[in-house]
Amino acid sequence: MEHYTMNLKLKVWRQKNAKSSGGFESYDVSNISSEMSFLEMFDVLNERLIREGKEPIAFDHDCREGICGMCSMYINGKAHGPWQGTTTCQLHMRAFKDGDTIVVEPWRANAFPVIKDLMVDRTAFDRIIQAGGYISVNTGNAVDANAIPIEKDKADSSFAAAACIGCGACVAACKNSSAMLFVSAKVSHLALLPQGAPERKTRVLDMIAQMDKEGFGSCTNTGACEAVCPKEISLTNIARLNGEYLTAGLTVDK
């Protein structure tokens, strides 16, 4: 692949902290290599800002290999930017061309308040897991791992749902800021396994209740979440969650 360099205009959301109101600021960045990752382009800009005595742009990132779920930029109107099935950190600059203007915002949702610039608070996701996104088994209680065979297809589907990285792109993309794809991925992961069966009904009811309490919106099945999900978590999981929720609501024993 031919490498090239480009000059770009960035419009980035700047916000000092949760209490202040923010706004866009424009930056010209030059000599950006097509081999850089999107976040490395931000590194270059931040180094320049520091040298100029200005405040660098705060953004979340950690593993930079698409698995930790920390990076979270809304790029040109799309969560994680233009590439399909890709986190912000794995997006590379060859997705852009010389002279482009790139608009970068934080995730926007009431349940994800902005901490600073492009960083948001996603602890609501942790609280949803606390409501029931686990199997209640204390350490040391387990039977032999091969004591319960699990159908390969079910194990594979469970894994596909468990691949969710909890980044929150689904919420950011949803016009209702619904967390249904995230919650359904966890409900599916555990409901598809025999180990998850004893708590299957209470889990889905409790997790949905917590989701509502956190201020996430309702799901209207537009599928924007699936379209931006960097791990391509399927909408089928939402269908499964709806089934689980209905059954649990009708048959729960308490």
């Binding site: 040298r51 930790c68 409501a131 199997i135 088994v137 194990a155 894994f159």
Partner: protein
């Protein structure tokens, strides 16, 4: 320094220990507070297990959620001596492979315990709902990994670390819901508080507000991972750091084998000065890929234009018995040797080819035969071969394509070794306690189980072993004598002093107001470390490195520039704190490497090699753990813990 290894035969040490260890009764557990720093596999599993037992746990991580710790990025798998494949595996074999793979620089008793509890880990993870790969019969699937002759690696596609961490994270969040664990995310530990010689708490910084906080605990567990980012470029996450371990070191904890670093042979090479981190390509790629460079120096032809007889498959040439599957340390050194000699490829010339063309052809022919295609065309063979490779390695090939923009099905991948893991860490005894009573280190943060080289799929095993199955027993032996210790108020002078020292250091850093960025210092440190304390080390280079690092330290403390305020979210300030500690650690690593005048595992001293360039161990003089005690600025004292091999007798590793 007492390693507290139990008496008795190797097989009986752990069961004997568990049978006689002191216990804390449930009513007393409720009164005891434990601080856990870091929430990767070791930290999250320890927090969950100790919370389940009834202790009051406070867990800290610098990320926005405990689920993000870098254990999540582990790809390949986790070893366990289950012998589900009926292929001759056993606790003894896992123990022996690990000791040998570590080039006889690990403690026998610790490694044997690790092998024993490995089977419990898999049971526990499956019970938690970790979706490991399965066969059609519904039972668990295994694959093989480097350094072993059995199939004992359990996996979940190329995301085993993610699935294990999510399992531990969910167990942790369950304890948070039950009120047994209190979670502090976006918090960074900046000091250990020691009262009357015992660890009694920490000073942490709330990274959102910038405020310092004091937290009391009857014991403190550091589960803070490795320090590979001292090299600036590594496969670690951007935030991975040595700060917690380094603060412990400054408070009296010895640092074990700091120079033992693992350089992983198959990573995507550096593409330019802007590079911020390196990405690993799973070891499994060496099963089918062939590694080569051109026979001609500075060959500028494209790989596909270089005919077969002008390629040097140097691993197959040098190591006919193991070929491309030699252990990580050997493969890495061989790649470096070729590139240094002028045979490297790509624009940087710091890369070698990992070629799938012959695998595609081989698989293609098999598939054509299966499909009954007689006299298949080259195109047909290629088509069928690509399908097979896609199924086996598709996600890795996609990742390579995303990062490099090249299609690895068409052109050979370019790879180069990169820093991946650190076998060294805080020195701990058999109970995982450091030399500071009440201060423990678990997982990659300690030095204990991998010797001078870690085998693939063993890091996950160690993290979870320490957290789920070792610390719940060993910590009781200490805490049983602490039940009369009431909660110490954080107004105690030791807390005051520690907080003041942290605050003073932060304001000192902030007020330097120099001209160079934190990042630029980190890059320079990384270059010194990589050039002189990386894959190959020699006396002159290490001595120069020590001088350069001391100079860099002076420059850092007089010319670093940190924007923003102290009392706010300030990632540059966080980074400055970490880089300051990396600089000091770098010096100790070089001192340790200089002191260890032998080659073993990942530590290669150029003066100590066989005639054909292989690592030469010196068991007569260096069969010990180096445990360094900090005595003052740039001043350390070496303590030696002799390694005694009762069962696995040291021999020379050969892969020819």
């Amino acid at each position: 320094m007492n390693s507290k290894i139990p008496e008795g035969l190797l097989d009986d040490k752990w069961s004997g220990y568990k049978g006689h260890v002191k216990l804390v009764n449930p009513a007393n557990k409720r009164k005891i507070e434990i601080i856990i720093v870091g929430t990767g596999l070791a930290g999250a599993s320890a927090a969950a297990a100790l919370g389940e037992l009834g202790y009051k746990v406070k867990a800290f991580c610098f990320q926005d959620s405990p689920r993000r710790a870098h254990s999540i990025a582990a790809q390949g798998g986790i070893n366990a001596a289950k012998n589900y494949q009926n292929d001759g595996d056993s606790v003894f074999r896992l123990f022996y492979d690990t000791i040998k793979g570590g080039d006889y620089r690990a403690r026998e008793a610790n490694v044997h315990r690790l092998a024993e509890v490995s089977v419990n880990i898999i049971d526990q993870c499956v019970a938690q709902g970790v979706p490991f790969a399965r066969e059609y019969g519904g039972l668990l699937s295994n694959r093989s990994f480097g350094g072993t002759q059995v199939q004992r690696t359990f996996y979940a596609a190329g995301q085993t670390g993610q699935q294990l961490l999510i399992g531990a994270y969910q167990a942790l969040e369950r304890q948070v819901a039950l009120g047994n664990v209190k979670m502090y995310s976006r918090h960074e530990m900046l000091d250990v508080v020691v009262i009357d010689g015992k660890a009694r708490g920490i000073i942490a910084r709330d990274l959102i507000s910038g405020e310092l906080e004091r937290h009391f605990g009857h014991a403190v567990l550091l589960c803070t991972g490795g320090y590979g980012n001292v090299f600036y470029l590594s496969t670690n996450a951007m935030g991975s750091n040595v700060t917690a371990a380094w603060k412990a070191h400054k408070k009296g904890a010895y640092f074990g084998n700091p120079c033992f670093t693992q350089i992983h042979p198959t990573c995507i090479p550096v593409s330019g000065d802007h590079q911020s981190k390196l990405t690993l390509m799973s070891e499994s790629l060496r099963n089918d890929g062939r590694i080569w460079v051109p026979k001609k120096q500075n060959d500028t032809r494209k790989p596909n234009e270089i005919p077969e007889d002008e390629r040097d498959y140097y691993l197959e040439r040098r190591y006919p018995a193991f070929g491309n599957l030699v252990p990580r340390d050997v493969a890495s050194r061989a790649a470096k040797e070729r590139c240094d000699a002028g045979y490297g490829v790509g624009s940087s010339k710091q890369a070698v080819y990992l070629d799938y063309a012959s695998a595609i052809e081989r698989y293609g022919k098999i598939e054509c035969s299966k499909h009954g295609i007689e006299n298949p065309t080259a195109e047909e063979i290629r088509h069928h071969g690509m399908e097979v490779v896609k199924e086996k390695y598709g996600n890795l090939f996609d990742m390579y394509a995303k990062i490099t923009g090249e299609n690895p099905y068409e052109v050979p991948m370019r790879i180069y070794p990169a820093v991946h893991y650190t076998m060294g860490g805080l020195w701990v005894d058999y109970e995982l306690m450091t030399t500071v009573p009440g201060l423990y280190a678990l997982g990659e943060a300690n030095f204990s189980d991998h010797g001078a080289n870690r085998l693939g799929a063993s890091a996950l095993m160690q993290g979870l072993a320490d957290g789920y199955f070792v610390i719940p027993y060993t910590i009781g032996n200490y805490l049983a004598d602490e039940i009369r210790t009431a909660e110490i108020p954080t107004t105690h002078p030791a807390f005051e002093e520690a907080e003041k020292a942290v605050a003073d250091r932060i304001s000192k850093l902030k007020n330097i107001n120099g001209s160079q960025t934190v990042e630029s210092f980190h890059k320079r440190l990384g270059k010194i470390m990589w050039d002189k304390c990386g894959m190959a080390r020699n006396e002159a280079g290490l001595k120069t490195a020590i001088e350069e690092i001391q100079q860099l330290k002076k420059e850092f403390w007089s010319d670093v520039k940190i924007p923003g305020e102290i009392k706010e979210m300030n990632p540059e300030l966080d980074k400055a704190n970490r880089v300051a500690d990396f600089i000091e650690l770098g010096e100790l690593m070089c001192i340790d490497a200089l002191n260890r005048k032998e080659s073993c595992g990942g530590h290669f001293r150029e003066e100590m090699q066989t005639e054909d360039g292989e690592a030469k161990r010196d068991d007569d003089n260096f069969c010990f753990v180096s445990a360094w005690e900090l005595k003052g600025d740039s001043n350390w004292e070496l303590h030696k813990e002799p390694l005694i091999f009762d069962v696995a007798h040291p021999s020379q590793r050969s892969y020819k």
